[in-house]
């Protein structure tokens, strides 16, 4: 193989193929950016959802949990926490989350530990709203089952 390809041919494959790949990827990016608002229900991002995302980020939740499958694999998936832990009931989920956050860290020897983050009531509420919004994103029916 390598004898028939000259350096010039290889360079042309690099420039031609590279440029083609960049153009395709750029085109798909533009299209994706246009479609994301509808797929994610962008209009449902309230101030509380946005604040909840900041709570999520400022406490580095993704350092243990996954959200839509991305993050660390030390603690459960939270993209569908609303369905799994709140049975898709907003009030039930918020009550559950407030209780859960207040109870950390659990006193079970050598169970994986979640730190106490000292969140205010409002922050927990924001976080819940963020997770509820996330759970409604149209993401090709992932995860396969309720366990995440």
């Amino acid at each position: 193989m390598s004898e028939r390809i000259t350096k010039n041919m290889a360079r042309n494959i690099y420039f031609g193929g590279g440029l083609f790949a960049i153009l395709v990827f750029a085109g798909l990016t533009v299209d994706t950016v246009q479609k994301i608002p509808e797929l994610s229900h962008d209009d449902k991002i309230t101030e509380s959802v946005a604040l909840g995302k900041q709570v999520w980020e400022n406490n580095n939740c993704v350092g243990c949990h996954t959200i839509m499958g991305e993050g660390a694999y030390y603690a459960p998936e939270l993209g569908n926490a609303f369905q799994r832990l709140g049975a898709s009931d907003e009030q039930a989920f918020k009550t559950y989350l407030a209780g859960w956050m207040a109870a950390q860290p659990l006193d079970t020897p050598d169970r994986r530990k979640m730190p106490q983050f000292h969140l205010t009531q409002e922050q927990v509420n924001n976080l819940a709203d963020f997770l509820i919004w996330t759970s409604r994103v149209n993401n090709q029916e992932w995860p396969p089952n309720i366990k995440g």
Partner: protein
Amino acid sequence: MKYSSQMVAKPYFIFALILLAGEIVFGLAMGAQYLYGDFLFPAIPFNVLRMVHTNLLIVLLLFGFMGATYYLIPEESERELWSPLLAKITFWVFAAAGVATILGYLLVPYATLAELTYNNILPTMGREFLEQPTITKIGIVFVVLSYILNVTMTVVKGRRTTISVILLTGLFGLAFFFLFAFYVPENLVMDKFFWWFVVHLWVEATWELILGALLAFVLIKTTGVDREHIDKWLYLIIAMTLISGLAGTGHHFFYIGTPGYWLWIGSIASAAEPIPFFLMILFAFNMAKNRRIQHNNKIALTWAKGTAIVGFLGAGVWGFIHTLAPINYYTHGTQLTAAHGHLAFFGAYVMICFTVISYAMPILRGRAHGNGVKAQKVELISFWMMVIGMIGITLALTAAGIIQIEMQRLPDSAHAIGFMETQAAISSVYAIRLAFGLMVLGGLLTYFYSFFVKEAE
């Protein structure tokens, strides 16, 4: 050493190796926490350990790339580095910023660190691998720009080779895509989409260009094969990198709220991603077979072949295992992802750093023909300890992932086992993983020892 300014590479190499030791120690601590949840808790919770572990990796690779560049660019350009002083300043600024950031992670809660560094003005924190405070990110931009300026000026004023131009292309790409780290929209889906522009387009596009260039350089030096021949291979490798790797980003856009066509595009394009890594194996072994000189630094060539093979296994094979959308539906976000991540980063990027260091360090220490036979023997032992250790970790995590998928993902909602119960069932596999982790640390310590082996004259 042909040019005295190549000497600036030395502190970069040494610091990269120290950071690697730190990375492994924190990895071991995480491995222990997987088994004993109370280990180091609440002093250092898991998310902090992980952040330190992954950030040390990224920073050590950047130090490794910088050191490698400063070493090879003068030789490629046939002139002294444009500004050795700037390279020295860049080193200290980057090292100080890195250490300060790690201390920040360890000494205060993350939320406090966000507050202290005014994250609210330009929020960029709290995203996987990009946890650094905004001020650190800005610092990284300046460090990288001064580094690129230095390299560009050297290349422009000297001889231009395929290797140096491709290396520079990779560096410009690295700098450009890092800018997406500053874009954090309110919409999580949009956020995730562009987050991959940093993460994927670093490791599966621009860094591969850097990897290819560094590998080509060491192969030229240790085999004496004709440049025309090497250049041709290099072009083919990076052409396949871009063709498969750019659209291949799509394998991250399956289940995060992006359009469904990515299921097809991501699967097809990323199925081709092992090709450039496979070409690297052919490249390394072909050049070694057709070598024109017998370089005394045999271990450098061993690392070069090793990085090609382990990079192909980790990035190519272990990536391919779960890159097709219907499979990824079940594997997404399981320990299988961690298995792939570990072997890919080690094989492709940590090992290319070892390759360059193994080639360049003896020369920087005044041994033009490489270390003595004894030292190389010790280094070879360290090579195998680290490689076997990492493959062991990868196999253990793969087993963990398969069990996790079987218990937690495959059954329907009524029959699937929950996350925590599944994890408890896997704990013995995590113990095996930790044991292999200790072997990697042993390998690195052996590697350090090889620097101090005295030769009987």
